[in-house]
Amino acid sequence: MLLYILRRILYVTPVALGVSVICFLLVHLAPGDPLTAVMPIDATAQQQAEMRQAYGFDRPLPVQYGIWLWKVLRGDLGHSIATGRPVLSEVSRAVGNSLILASVATLIGFTFGTFFGFVAGYFRDSPLDKAASALSVFGVSVPHYWLGIVMVIIFSAQLGWLPPTGAGPDGSGNWRPDAEHLRYIILPAVTMSVIPMGIIARTVRALVADILGQEFVQALRAKGLGEWGVFKHVVTNAAPTALAVMGLQLGYLLGGSILIETVFAWPGSGFLLNAAIFQRDLPLLQGTILVLAMFFVMLNLIVDVLQTVLDPRIQRA
Protein backbone atom coordinates (compact mmCIF):
# COMPACT_ATOMS: atom_id res chain seq x y z
CA MET A 1 0.00 0.00 0.00
CA LEU A 2 2.70 2.39 1.04
CA LEU A 3 4.65 1.28 -1.97
CA TYR A 4 1.74 2.19 -4.20
CA ILE A 5 1.54 5.66 -2.71
CA LEU A 6 5.26 6.10 -3.21
CA ARG A 7 4.93 4.95 -6.81
CA ARG A 8 2.16 7.42 -7.46
CA ILE A 9 4.20 10.26 -5.99
CA LEU A 10 7.11 9.27 -8.16
CA TYR A 11 4.83 9.22 -11.16
CA VAL A 12 3.47 12.65 -10.38
CA THR A 13 6.86 14.31 -9.98
CA PRO A 14 7.73 14.63 -13.68
CA VAL A 15 4.22 15.90 -14.31
CA ALA A 16 4.63 18.52 -11.58
CA LEU A 17 7.94 19.52 -13.09
CA GLY A 18 6.31 19.80 -16.49
CA VAL A 19 3.65 22.02 -14.99
CA SER A 20 6.30 24.27 -13.50
CA VAL A 21 8.02 24.52 -16.88
CA ILE A 22 4.79 25.61 -18.50
CA CYS A 23 4.12 28.17 -15.79
CA PHE A 24 7.60 29.53 -16.26
CA LEU A 25 7.32 29.68 -20.02
CA LEU A 26 3.92 31.37 -20.00
CA VAL A 27 5.43 34.62 -19.06
CA HIS A 28 7.94 34.40 -21.86
CA LEU A 29 5.17 33.59 -24.34
CA ALA A 30 3.95 37.11 -24.13
CA PRO A 31 4.89 39.15 -27.14
CA GLY A 32 7.46 41.73 -26.31
CA ASP A 33 10.15 41.84 -23.74
CA PRO A 34 9.04 40.78 -20.27
CA LEU A 35 11.08 43.68 -19.13
CA THR A 36 8.70 46.24 -20.60
CA ALA A 37 6.13 45.37 -18.00
CA VAL A 38 8.37 46.10 -15.09
CA MET A 39 10.17 49.09 -16.40
CA PRO A 40 9.20 52.74 -16.34
CA ILE A 41 8.66 54.09 -19.84
CA ASP A 42 11.41 56.63 -19.84
CA ALA A 43 14.16 54.38 -18.63
CA THR A 44 17.48 54.93 -20.34
CA ALA A 45 19.38 52.17 -22.09
CA GLN A 46 21.72 52.02 -19.11
CA GLN A 47 18.83 51.59 -16.70
CA GLN A 48 17.31 48.94 -18.96
CA ALA A 49 20.52 46.97 -18.96
CA GLU A 50 20.79 47.23 -15.18
CA MET A 51 17.21 46.11 -14.66
CA ARG A 52 17.67 43.28 -17.11
CA GLN A 53 20.59 42.05 -15.13
CA ALA A 54 18.84 42.54 -11.81
CA TYR A 55 15.86 40.48 -12.95
CA GLY A 56 18.09 37.95 -14.55
CA PHE A 57 16.57 38.34 -18.01
CA ASP A 58 19.98 38.40 -19.63
CA ARG A 59 20.76 34.78 -18.77
CA PRO A 60 19.83 31.87 -21.05
CA LEU A 61 16.34 30.48 -20.56
CA PRO A 62 17.16 27.14 -18.90
CA VAL A 63 19.31 28.99 -16.37
CA GLN A 64 16.50 31.42 -15.64
CA TYR A 65 14.21 28.45 -15.14
CA GLY A 66 16.64 26.82 -12.78
CA ILE A 67 17.00 29.96 -10.68
CA TRP A 68 13.26 30.49 -10.62
CA LEU A 69 12.58 26.87 -9.65
CA TRP A 70 15.15 27.01 -6.87
CA LYS A 71 13.50 30.11 -5.47
CA VAL A 72 10.04 28.60 -5.74
CA LEU A 73 11.03 25.50 -3.85
CA ARG A 74 12.24 27.70 -1.04
CA GLY A 75 8.92 29.52 -0.97
CA ASP A 76 10.01 32.69 -2.73
CA LEU A 77 7.59 33.51 -5.50
CA GLY A 78 8.83 37.02 -6.01
CA HIS A 79 7.08 40.27 -5.34
CA SER A 80 4.02 41.75 -6.93
CA ILE A 81 4.86 44.64 -9.20
CA ALA A 82 1.64 46.45 -8.42
CA THR A 83 1.63 46.24 -4.65
CA GLY A 84 5.21 45.32 -3.86
CA ARG A 85 4.03 42.65 -1.42
CA PRO A 86 5.39 39.13 -1.58
CA VAL A 87 3.46 37.06 -4.06
CA LEU A 88 3.20 34.07 -1.78
CA SER A 89 1.29 35.91 0.90
CA GLU A 90 -1.05 37.55 -1.62
CA VAL A 91 -1.76 34.26 -3.26
CA SER A 92 -2.24 32.36 -0.02
CA ARG A 93 -4.81 34.81 1.18
CA ALA A 94 -6.63 34.75 -2.11
CA VAL A 95 -6.52 30.99 -2.47
CA GLY A 96 -7.96 30.71 1.00
CA ASN A 97 -11.01 32.69 -0.03
CA SER A 98 -11.41 30.75 -3.23
CA LEU A 99 -11.08 27.48 -1.39
CA ILE A 100 -13.91 28.46 0.93
CA LEU A 101 -16.13 29.40 -1.96
CA ALA A 102 -15.24 26.35 -4.00
CA SER A 103 -15.74 24.00 -1.07
CA VAL A 104 -19.18 25.36 -0.28
CA ALA A 105 -20.11 25.22 -3.95
CA THR A 106 -18.86 21.65 -4.29
CA LEU A 107 -20.76 20.59 -1.21
CA ILE A 108 -23.99 22.08 -2.51
CA GLY A 109 -23.41 20.64 -5.95
CA PHE A 110 -22.51 17.23 -4.60
CA THR A 111 -25.54 17.06 -2.33
CA PHE A 112 -28.05 18.02 -4.97
CA GLY A 113 -26.20 16.22 -7.69
CA THR A 114 -26.15 12.89 -5.88
CA PHE A 115 -29.78 13.30 -4.97
CA PHE A 116 -30.85 13.94 -8.54
CA GLY A 117 -28.52 11.28 -9.83
CA PHE A 118 -29.89 8.66 -7.46
CA VAL A 119 -33.46 9.54 -8.31
CA ALA A 120 -32.71 9.37 -12.00
CA GLY A 121 -30.82 6.10 -11.73
CA TYR A 122 -33.35 4.35 -9.55
CA PHE A 123 -36.37 5.41 -11.55
CA ARG A 124 -34.82 5.00 -14.92
CA ASP A 125 -36.74 6.22 -17.95
CA SER A 126 -39.52 7.58 -15.80
CA PRO A 127 -40.61 11.25 -15.91
CA LEU A 128 -38.53 11.75 -12.73
CA ASP A 129 -35.49 10.50 -14.58
CA LYS A 130 -36.15 12.80 -17.49
CA ALA A 131 -36.57 15.77 -15.17
CA ALA A 132 -33.41 14.98 -13.25
CA SER A 133 -31.48 14.41 -16.45
CA ALA A 134 -32.76 17.69 -17.83
CA LEU A 135 -31.49 19.48 -14.75
CA SER A 136 -28.09 17.92 -15.12
CA VAL A 137 -27.84 18.86 -18.80
CA PHE A 138 -28.81 22.38 -17.77
CA GLY A 139 -26.01 22.35 -15.24
CA VAL A 140 -23.30 21.52 -17.72
CA SER A 141 -24.62 23.72 -20.52
CA VAL A 142 -25.26 26.98 -18.75
CA PRO A 143 -22.58 29.63 -18.93
CA HIS A 144 -22.01 30.09 -15.23
CA TYR A 145 -20.95 33.70 -15.51
CA TRP A 146 -24.24 34.50 -17.17
CA LEU A 147 -26.10 32.57 -14.52
CA GLY A 148 -24.32 34.68 -11.93
CA ILE A 149 -25.50 37.86 -13.60
CA VAL A 150 -29.04 36.53 -13.79
CA MET A 151 -28.94 35.62 -10.10
CA VAL A 152 -27.71 39.10 -9.26
CA ILE A 153 -30.51 40.57 -11.34
CA ILE A 154 -33.15 38.52 -9.60
CA PHE A 155 -31.97 38.38 -6.01
CA SER A 156 -30.06 41.61 -5.75
CA ALA A 157 -31.33 44.18 -8.19
CA GLN A 158 -34.99 43.18 -8.26
CA LEU A 159 -35.64 41.60 -4.88
CA GLY A 160 -32.87 43.17 -2.88
CA TRP A 161 -32.46 40.13 -0.66
CA LEU A 162 -28.77 39.51 -1.15
CA PRO A 163 -25.75 41.69 -1.82
CA PRO A 164 -24.48 41.69 -5.40
CA THR A 165 -20.75 41.72 -4.87
CA GLY A 166 -18.00 41.34 -2.36
CA ALA A 167 -17.20 38.97 0.44
CA GLY A 168 -18.13 41.13 3.36
CA PRO A 169 -20.09 44.24 4.35
CA ASP A 170 -17.08 46.53 4.41
CA GLY A 171 -15.58 45.23 1.19
CA SER A 172 -13.29 43.18 3.37
CA GLY A 173 -10.65 41.06 1.82
CA ASN A 174 -11.57 38.01 3.80
CA TRP A 175 -14.60 35.94 4.45
CA ARG A 176 -15.42 34.73 7.91
CA PRO A 177 -18.07 32.21 8.76
CA ASP A 178 -20.27 34.53 10.76
CA ALA A 179 -23.80 35.80 10.34
CA GLU A 180 -22.78 39.00 8.64
CA HIS A 181 -20.72 37.35 5.99
CA LEU A 182 -23.10 34.49 5.33
CA ARG A 183 -25.28 36.51 3.00
CA TYR A 184 -22.33 37.28 0.77
CA ILE A 185 -21.42 33.73 -0.02
CA ILE A 186 -24.85 32.46 -0.98
CA LEU A 187 -25.15 33.79 -4.51
CA PRO A 188 -21.62 33.00 -5.71
CA ALA A 189 -21.66 29.55 -4.13
CA VAL A 190 -25.02 28.58 -5.56
CA THR A 191 -24.05 29.87 -8.98
CA MET A 192 -20.81 27.94 -8.85
CA SER A 193 -22.50 24.78 -7.67
CA VAL A 194 -24.51 24.36 -10.82
CA ILE A 195 -21.70 22.84 -12.91
CA PRO A 196 -20.55 20.20 -10.43
CA MET A 197 -24.18 19.46 -9.74
CA GLY A 198 -24.76 18.69 -13.38
CA ILE A 199 -21.68 16.54 -13.75
CA ILE A 200 -22.17 14.65 -10.50
CA ALA A 201 -25.83 14.03 -11.27
CA ARG A 202 -24.87 12.56 -14.62
CA THR A 203 -22.14 10.40 -13.18
CA VAL A 204 -24.21 9.14 -10.27
CA ARG A 205 -27.13 8.35 -12.54
CA ALA A 206 -24.94 6.26 -14.80
CA LEU A 207 -23.33 4.53 -11.84
CA VAL A 208 -26.59 3.72 -10.12
CA ALA A 209 -28.27 2.50 -13.29
CA ASP A 210 -25.24 0.36 -14.06
CA ILE A 211 -25.04 -1.18 -10.58
CA LEU A 212 -28.76 -1.85 -10.40
CA GLY A 213 -28.59 -3.61 -13.73
CA GLN A 214 -25.85 -5.94 -12.67
CA GLU A 215 -26.60 -9.52 -11.92
CA PHE A 216 -25.47 -9.50 -8.34
CA VAL A 217 -28.24 -7.08 -7.47
CA GLN A 218 -30.79 -9.39 -9.03
CA ALA A 219 -29.28 -12.19 -7.01
CA LEU A 220 -29.58 -10.16 -3.82
CA ARG A 221 -33.21 -9.42 -4.51
CA ALA A 222 -33.90 -13.05 -5.29
CA LYS A 223 -32.45 -13.94 -1.91
CA GLY A 224 -35.01 -11.68 -0.35
CA LEU A 225 -32.96 -8.63 0.51
CA GLY A 226 -35.22 -5.64 1.00
CA GLU A 227 -34.90 -2.40 -0.92
CA TRP A 228 -33.04 -0.69 1.92
CA GLY A 229 -30.41 -3.38 1.84
CA VAL A 230 -30.07 -3.09 -1.90
CA PHE A 231 -29.78 0.65 -1.50
CA LYS A 232 -26.90 0.26 0.91
CA HIS A 233 -25.14 -2.00 -1.58
CA VAL A 234 -25.61 0.53 -4.34
CA VAL A 235 -24.17 3.29 -2.18
CA THR A 236 -21.10 1.29 -1.23
CA ASN A 237 -20.42 0.43 -4.84
CA ALA A 238 -21.01 3.90 -6.17
CA ALA A 239 -19.21 5.77 -3.41
CA PRO A 240 -15.58 5.53 -4.57
CA THR A 241 -16.22 6.87 -8.06
CA ALA A 242 -18.67 9.49 -6.86
CA LEU A 243 -16.22 10.79 -4.29
CA ALA A 244 -13.45 10.84 -6.86
CA VAL A 245 -15.58 12.94 -9.18
CA MET A 246 -16.41 15.29 -6.33
CA GLY A 247 -12.75 15.74 -5.53
CA LEU A 248 -11.95 16.52 -9.13
CA GLN A 249 -14.80 18.99 -9.37
CA LEU A 250 -13.42 20.81 -6.36
CA GLY A 251 -10.16 21.12 -8.23
CA TYR A 252 -11.84 22.43 -11.37
CA LEU A 253 -13.82 24.98 -9.41
CA LEU A 254 -10.74 26.20 -7.65
CA GLY A 255 -8.81 26.53 -10.87
CA GLY A 256 -11.65 27.96 -12.89
CA SER A 257 -13.12 30.35 -10.37
CA ILE A 258 -12.00 33.47 -12.16
CA LEU A 259 -15.25 33.99 -14.05
CA ILE A 260 -17.57 33.78 -11.06
CA GLU A 261 -15.21 35.77 -8.89
CA THR A 262 -15.14 38.49 -11.51
CA VAL A 263 -18.93 38.68 -11.58
CA PHE A 264 -19.23 38.81 -7.81
CA ALA A 265 -15.98 40.64 -7.03
CA TRP A 266 -15.10 37.80 -4.69
CA PRO A 267 -11.54 38.38 -3.39
CA GLY A 268 -10.20 35.03 -4.41
CA SER A 269 -7.39 33.67 -6.54
CA GLY A 270 -9.41 34.09 -9.71
CA PHE A 271 -10.01 37.73 -9.01
CA LEU A 272 -6.31 38.11 -8.28
CA LEU A 273 -5.50 36.44 -11.57
CA ASN A 274 -7.74 38.88 -13.40
CA ALA A 275 -6.01 41.83 -11.80
CA ALA A 276 -2.59 40.37 -12.50
CA ILE A 277 -3.39 39.89 -16.18
CA PHE A 278 -4.61 43.39 -16.72
CA GLN A 279 -1.84 45.03 -14.76
CA ARG A 280 0.71 42.84 -16.54
CA ASP A 281 1.95 41.94 -13.06
CA LEU A 282 4.04 39.02 -14.19
CA PRO A 283 5.39 37.68 -10.90
CA LEU A 284 1.90 37.69 -9.46
CA LEU A 285 0.48 36.03 -12.58
CA GLN A 286 3.14 33.37 -12.59
CA GLY A 287 2.84 32.72 -8.88
CA THR A 288 -0.93 32.43 -8.89
CA ILE A 289 -1.02 30.04 -11.83
CA LEU A 290 1.72 27.92 -10.30
CA VAL A 291 0.00 27.63 -6.93
CA LEU A 292 -3.39 26.83 -8.49
CA ALA A 293 -1.94 24.23 -10.83
CA MET A 294 0.02 22.55 -8.05
CA PHE A 295 -3.09 22.47 -5.91
CA PHE A 296 -4.86 20.65 -8.71
CA VAL A 297 -2.02 18.16 -9.12
CA MET A 298 -2.00 17.42 -5.39
CA LEU A 299 -5.75 17.07 -5.36
CA ASN A 300 -5.60 14.58 -8.23
CA LEU A 301 -3.00 12.59 -6.35
CA ILE A 302 -5.08 12.50 -3.17
CA VAL A 303 -8.21 11.50 -5.05
CA ASP A 304 -6.28 8.76 -6.84
CA VAL A 305 -4.90 7.29 -3.64
CA LEU A 306 -8.23 7.59 -1.80
CA GLN A 307 -9.98 5.82 -4.62
CA THR A 308 -7.59 2.90 -4.40
CA VAL A 309 -8.06 2.71 -0.65
CA LEU A 310 -11.85 2.74 -0.95
CA ASP A 311 -12.29 0.56 -4.01
CA PRO A 312 -11.02 -2.99 -3.48
CA ARG A 313 -11.38 -3.80 -7.14
CA ILE A 314 -8.31 -1.80 -8.01
CA GLN A 315 -5.72 -4.34 -6.99
CA ARG A 316 -2.22 -3.29 -6.33
CA ALA A 317 0.23 -6.07 -5.74
Binding site: L26, A30, V137, P143, V150, G251, G255, I258, L259, A293
Partner: protein, 294 residues
Protein backbone atom coordinates in the same frame (compact mmCIF):
# COMPACT_ATOMS: atom_id res chain seq x y z
CA UNK B 1 -19.42 -29.35 -53.92
CA UNK B 2 -22.90 -28.08 -53.47
CA UNK B 3 -23.35 -24.70 -51.89
CA UNK B 4 -24.06 -25.35 -48.23
CA UNK B 5 -26.69 -22.85 -47.33
CA UNK B 6 -28.11 -22.45 -43.88
CA UNK B 7 -31.82 -21.84 -43.51
CA UNK B 8 -32.12 -18.09 -43.73
CA UNK B 9 -34.93 -15.66 -43.46
CA UNK B 10 -35.93 -14.70 -47.00
CA UNK B 11 -33.50 -12.14 -48.36
CA UNK B 12 -34.74 -8.71 -47.28
CA UNK B 13 -35.98 -6.39 -49.95
CA UNK B 14 -34.04 -3.39 -48.63
CA UNK B 15 -30.38 -2.98 -49.47
CA UNK B 16 -27.91 -3.63 -46.73
CA UNK B 17 -26.85 -0.59 -44.81
CA UNK B 18 -23.54 0.25 -43.27
CA UNK B 19 -22.79 1.72 -39.92
CA UNK B 20 -23.31 5.42 -40.58
CA UNK B 21 -26.63 5.05 -42.29
CA UNK B 22 -27.77 3.07 -39.26
CA UNK B 23 -26.65 5.90 -37.03
CA UNK B 24 -28.47 8.45 -39.16
CA UNK B 25 -31.64 6.38 -39.06
CA UNK B 26 -31.63 6.15 -35.29
CA UNK B 27 -30.73 9.78 -34.92
CA UNK B 28 -33.61 11.00 -37.03
CA UNK B 29 -35.99 9.14 -34.76
CA UNK B 30 -34.74 10.96 -31.66
CA UNK B 31 -37.00 13.99 -31.12
CA UNK B 32 -34.74 15.80 -28.66
CA UNK B 33 -31.71 15.51 -30.91
CA UNK B 34 -33.66 16.66 -33.93
CA UNK B 35 -35.00 19.74 -32.16
CA UNK B 36 -31.48 20.55 -30.96
CA UNK B 37 -30.17 20.15 -34.49
CA UNK B 38 -32.88 22.46 -35.80
CA UNK B 39 -31.93 25.14 -33.29
CA UNK B 40 -28.26 24.82 -34.18
CA UNK B 41 -29.01 25.10 -37.87
CA UNK B 42 -31.21 28.14 -37.25
CA UNK B 43 -28.46 29.91 -35.33
CA UNK B 44 -25.81 28.97 -37.87
CA UNK B 45 -27.91 30.10 -40.82
CA UNK B 46 -28.78 33.34 -39.07
CA UNK B 47 -25.11 33.97 -38.49
CA UNK B 48 -24.20 33.23 -42.10
CA UNK B 49 -26.95 35.38 -43.57
CA UNK B 50 -26.64 38.13 -40.97
CA UNK B 51 -26.36 41.02 -43.42
CA UNK B 52 -29.54 39.87 -45.14
CA UNK B 53 -31.77 39.32 -42.15
CA UNK B 54 -30.57 41.81 -39.59
CA UNK B 55 -32.87 44.86 -39.35
CA UNK B 56 -30.20 47.47 -38.58
CA UNK B 57 -26.48 48.21 -38.53
CA UNK B 58 -24.46 46.43 -35.85
CA UNK B 59 -22.12 49.34 -35.22
CA UNK B 60 -24.45 52.29 -35.55
CA UNK B 61 -25.42 53.61 -32.20
CA UNK B 62 -27.55 56.44 -31.05
CA UNK B 63 -26.81 58.30 -27.85
CA UNK B 64 -30.41 59.25 -27.23
CA UNK B 65 -31.72 55.75 -27.69
CA UNK B 66 -29.52 53.91 -25.23
CA UNK B 67 -30.81 51.01 -23.22
CA UNK B 68 -34.31 50.92 -24.54
CA UNK B 69 -36.42 47.95 -23.38
CA UNK B 70 -37.61 44.99 -25.38
CA UNK B 71 -40.44 45.88 -27.69
CA UNK B 72 -39.52 49.55 -28.04
CA UNK B 73 -40.58 50.73 -31.49
CA UNK B 74 -37.77 50.16 -33.95
CA UNK B 75 -35.80 48.05 -31.48
CA UNK B 76 -37.53 44.67 -31.20
CA UNK B 77 -35.13 43.39 -28.55
CA UNK B 78 -34.12 46.70 -27.13
CA UNK B 79 -30.90 48.63 -27.52
CA UNK B 80 -27.57 48.38 -25.79
CA UNK B 81 -25.49 50.85 -23.82
CA UNK B 82 -24.42 52.69 -26.99
CA UNK B 83 -27.85 52.70 -28.57
CA UNK B 84 -27.23 49.89 -31.02
CA UNK B 85 -30.06 47.56 -31.93
CA UNK B 86 -29.87 44.38 -29.83
CA UNK B 87 -31.46 42.05 -32.34
CA UNK B 88 -28.91 43.02 -34.95
CA UNK B 89 -26.04 42.77 -32.51
CA UNK B 90 -27.21 39.36 -31.37
CA UNK B 91 -27.43 38.04 -34.92
CA UNK B 92 -24.03 39.40 -35.81
CA UNK B 93 -22.71 38.28 -32.47
CA UNK B 94 -23.55 34.73 -33.44
CA UNK B 95 -20.92 34.90 -36.16
CA UNK B 96 -18.02 35.59 -33.90
CA UNK B 97 -19.27 33.51 -31.01
CA UNK B 98 -19.76 30.47 -33.20
CA UNK B 99 -16.46 31.07 -34.91
CA UNK B 100 -14.38 31.30 -31.75
CA UNK B 101 -16.33 28.44 -30.24
CA UNK B 102 -16.19 25.93 -33.07
CA UNK B 103 -12.81 26.63 -34.66
CA UNK B 104 -10.72 25.55 -31.65
CA UNK B 105 -12.59 22.26 -31.48
CA UNK B 106 -12.05 21.64 -35.20
CA UNK B 107 -8.33 22.37 -34.95
CA UNK B 108 -7.98 20.38 -31.77
CA UNK B 109 -9.80 17.47 -33.42
CA UNK B 110 -7.37 17.35 -36.30
CA UNK B 111 -4.27 17.77 -34.19
CA UNK B 112 -5.40 15.73 -31.20
CA UNK B 113 -6.77 12.84 -33.23
CA UNK B 114 -3.53 12.58 -35.21
CA UNK B 115 -1.43 12.54 -32.07
CA UNK B 116 -3.71 10.08 -30.32
CA UNK B 117 -4.06 7.66 -33.21
CA UNK B 118 -0.33 7.79 -33.85
CA UNK B 119 0.49 7.09 -30.21
CA UNK B 120 -2.25 4.49 -29.88
CA UNK B 121 -1.31 2.48 -32.94
CA UNK B 122 2.43 2.50 -32.40
CA UNK B 123 2.34 1.83 -28.68
CA UNK B 124 5.55 1.32 -26.78
CA UNK B 125 7.77 4.15 -25.67
CA UNK B 126 6.37 6.59 -28.24
CA UNK B 127 2.98 6.14 -26.69
CA UNK B 128 4.31 6.57 -23.17
CA UNK B 129 6.24 9.70 -24.07
CA UNK B 130 3.39 11.37 -25.91
CA UNK B 131 0.82 10.52 -23.27
CA UNK B 132 3.02 11.81 -20.49
CA UNK B 133 3.34 15.13 -22.25
CA UNK B 134 -0.43 15.12 -22.59
CA UNK B 135 -0.68 14.40 -18.86
CA UNK B 136 1.25 17.56 -18.07
CA UNK B 137 -1.38 19.64 -19.83
CA UNK B 138 -4.07 17.66 -18.12
CA UNK B 139 -2.66 18.76 -14.84
CA UNK B 140 -4.20 22.18 -15.45
CA UNK B 141 -7.92 22.75 -15.03
CA UNK B 142 -9.13 23.80 -18.51
CA UNK B 143 -10.40 27.23 -17.53
CA UNK B 144 -7.17 28.09 -15.78
CA UNK B 145 -5.08 26.99 -18.74
CA UNK B 146 -7.22 28.88 -21.21
CA UNK B 147 -7.01 32.05 -19.18
CA UNK B 148 -3.32 31.68 -18.45
CA UNK B 149 -2.56 31.21 -22.14
CA UNK B 150 -4.83 34.03 -23.19
CA UNK B 151 -3.40 36.26 -20.53
CA UNK B 152 0.09 35.50 -21.69
CA UNK B 153 -0.59 35.82 -25.41
CA UNK B 154 -2.74 38.88 -25.08
CA UNK B 155 -6.28 39.67 -26.16
CA UNK B 156 -7.60 39.03 -29.65
CA UNK B 157 -9.59 36.54 -31.66
CA UNK B 158 -6.63 34.60 -33.01
CA UNK B 159 -5.03 34.34 -29.59
CA UNK B 160 -8.15 32.99 -27.95
CA UNK B 161 -8.56 30.42 -30.70
CA UNK B 162 -4.96 29.36 -30.19
CA UNK B 163 -5.28 29.07 -26.42
CA UNK B 164 -8.50 27.11 -26.60
CA UNK B 165 -7.04 24.78 -29.21
CA UNK B 166 -4.12 24.10 -26.89
CA UNK B 167 -6.57 23.38 -24.08
CA UNK B 168 -8.58 20.86 -26.10
CA UNK B 169 -5.83 19.00 -27.93
CA UNK B 170 -4.79 16.93 -24.88
CA UNK B 171 -8.37 15.90 -24.14
CA UNK B 172 -9.03 14.74 -27.67
CA UNK B 173 -5.61 13.09 -27.90
CA UNK B 174 -6.34 11.04 -24.82
CA UNK B 175 -9.66 9.79 -26.14
CA UNK B 176 -8.10 9.05 -29.52
CA UNK B 177 -5.25 7.08 -27.96
CA UNK B 178 -7.60 5.08 -25.79
CA UNK B 179 -9.92 4.10 -28.63
CA UNK B 180 -7.05 3.31 -31.01
CA UNK B 181 -5.38 1.06 -28.47
CA UNK B 182 -8.59 -0.89 -28.10
CA UNK B 183 -9.12 -1.29 -31.83
CA UNK B 184 -5.50 -2.16 -32.45
CA UNK B 185 -5.79 -5.44 -30.58
CA UNK B 186 -8.94 -6.57 -32.37
CA UNK B 187 -8.76 -9.74 -34.40
CA UNK B 188 -9.51 -8.09 -37.72
CA UNK B 189 -6.52 -5.80 -37.33
CA UNK B 190 -4.38 -8.83 -36.58
CA UNK B 191 -5.80 -10.55 -39.65
CA UNK B 192 -4.86 -7.51 -41.71
CA UNK B 193 -1.32 -7.69 -40.40
CA UNK B 194 -1.25 -11.36 -41.25
CA UNK B 195 -2.17 -10.59 -44.83
CA UNK B 196 1.03 -8.64 -45.03
CA UNK B 197 -0.36 -5.12 -45.09
CA UNK B 198 1.85 -2.25 -44.03
CA UNK B 199 1.10 -0.01 -41.07
CA UNK B 200 -0.23 2.89 -43.16
CA UNK B 201 -2.64 0.69 -45.08
CA UNK B 202 -3.91 -0.94 -41.92
CA UNK B 203 -4.52 2.40 -40.25
CA UNK B 204 -6.21 3.82 -43.31
CA UNK B 205 -8.50 0.89 -44.07
CA UNK B 206 -9.15 -0.71 -40.70
CA UNK B 207 -8.35 1.67 -37.90
CA UNK B 208 -9.51 5.10 -39.03
CA UNK B 209 -13.04 4.07 -39.95
CA UNK B 210 -13.60 2.55 -36.56
CA UNK B 211 -11.84 5.16 -34.51
CA UNK B 212 -12.89 8.52 -35.95
CA UNK B 213 -16.51 8.01 -34.99
CA UNK B 214 -16.11 7.95 -31.19
CA UNK B 215 -13.51 10.72 -31.33
CA UNK B 216 -15.85 12.87 -33.38
CA UNK B 217 -18.70 12.40 -30.92
CA UNK B 218 -16.43 13.41 -28.07
CA UNK B 219 -15.39 16.49 -30.01
CA UNK B 220 -18.99 17.56 -30.62
CA UNK B 221 -19.53 17.33 -26.90
CA UNK B 222 -16.66 19.76 -26.44
CA UNK B 223 -18.24 22.45 -28.61
CA UNK B 224 -20.59 23.62 -25.89
CA UNK B 225 -17.71 23.90 -23.42
CA UNK B 226 -15.68 25.71 -26.01
CA UNK B 227 -18.40 28.25 -26.71
CA UNK B 228 -18.85 28.96 -23.05
CA UNK B 229 -15.11 29.33 -22.52
CA UNK B 230 -14.56 31.43 -25.64
CA UNK B 231 -17.34 33.80 -24.73
CA UNK B 232 -16.02 33.75 -21.20
CA UNK B 233 -12.67 34.96 -22.44
CA UNK B 234 -14.34 37.84 -24.22
CA UNK B 235 -16.36 38.51 -21.10
CA UNK B 236 -13.10 38.99 -19.23
CA UNK B 237 -11.72 41.19 -21.96
CA UNK B 238 -9.26 38.62 -23.21
CA UNK B 239 -10.91 37.71 -26.45
CA UNK B 240 -12.85 39.79 -28.89
CA UNK B 241 -12.34 43.52 -28.56
CA UNK B 242 -14.99 46.21 -28.80
CA UNK B 243 -16.79 47.39 -30.90
CA UNK B 244 -17.15 43.90 -32.37
CA UNK B 245 -20.38 42.09 -31.68
CA UNK B 246 -19.87 38.92 -29.70
CA UNK B 247 -22.14 37.50 -27.05
CA UNK B 248 -19.59 37.23 -24.27
CA UNK B 249 -18.29 40.73 -24.86
CA UNK B 250 -21.82 42.07 -24.98
CA UNK B 251 -22.54 40.44 -21.65
CA UNK B 252 -19.59 42.31 -20.23
CA UNK B 253 -20.38 45.73 -21.61
CA UNK B 254 -24.02 45.44 -20.56
CA UNK B 255 -23.21 44.63 -16.95
CA UNK B 256 -23.86 48.11 -15.75
CA UNK B 257 -27.32 47.91 -17.29
CA UNK B 258 -28.53 45.14 -15.03
CA UNK B 259 -30.18 47.63 -12.75
CA UNK B 260 -31.89 49.59 -15.50
CA UNK B 261 -32.62 47.09 -18.24
CA UNK B 262 -32.07 43.63 -16.77
CA UNK B 263 -33.82 41.77 -19.56
CA UNK B 264 -31.71 43.36 -22.25
CA UNK B 265 -28.56 42.81 -20.22
CA UNK B 266 -29.30 39.12 -19.92
CA UNK B 267 -30.04 38.48 -23.61
CA UNK B 268 -26.52 37.72 -24.89
CA UNK B 269 -26.00 35.11 -22.20
CA UNK B 270 -29.32 33.58 -23.16
CA UNK B 271 -27.97 33.03 -26.66
CA UNK B 272 -24.82 31.38 -25.37
CA UNK B 273 -26.93 29.13 -23.20
CA UNK B 274 -29.28 28.20 -26.02
CA UNK B 275 -26.47 27.32 -28.41
CA UNK B 276 -24.55 25.44 -25.78
CA UNK B 277 -27.44 23.31 -24.62
CA UNK B 278 -28.43 22.51 -28.20
CA UNK B 279 -24.94 21.26 -28.99
CA UNK B 280 -24.94 19.22 -25.81
CA UNK B 281 -28.29 17.60 -26.50
CA UNK B 282 -27.36 16.85 -30.09
CA UNK B 283 -24.06 15.37 -29.01
CA UNK B 284 -25.83 13.17 -26.46
CA UNK B 285 -28.25 12.00 -29.11
CA UNK B 286 -25.41 11.22 -31.47
CA UNK B 287 -23.65 9.21 -28.81
CA UNK B 288 -26.79 7.18 -28.09
CA UNK B 289 -27.30 6.52 -31.79
CA UNK B 290 -23.75 5.27 -32.13
CA UNK B 291 -23.77 3.11 -29.05
CA UNK B 292 -26.28 0.53 -30.21
CA UNK B 293 -24.72 -2.88 -30.08
CA UNK B 294 -25.41 -5.00 -33.08
Amino acid sequence: MAAIAEPLAPAPARTSHGYWSGVAMRLTRDPVAMVALAIILAIVLAAIFAPLIAPAEPFRGSMIRRLKPIGFPGYPLGSDELGRDMLTRLIYGGRLSLFIGVTPVLCAFMIGASIGIFAGYLGGWINTLLMRIVDVFFAFPSVLLAIALSGALGAGILNSIVSLTIVFVPQIARVAESVTTQIRSRDYVEAARVSGAGAFTIVRVHVLGNVLGPIFVYATGLISVSMILASGLSFLGLGVKPPEAEWGLMLNTLRTAIYTQPMVAALPGMMIFLTSISFNLFSDGLRSAMEVKQ
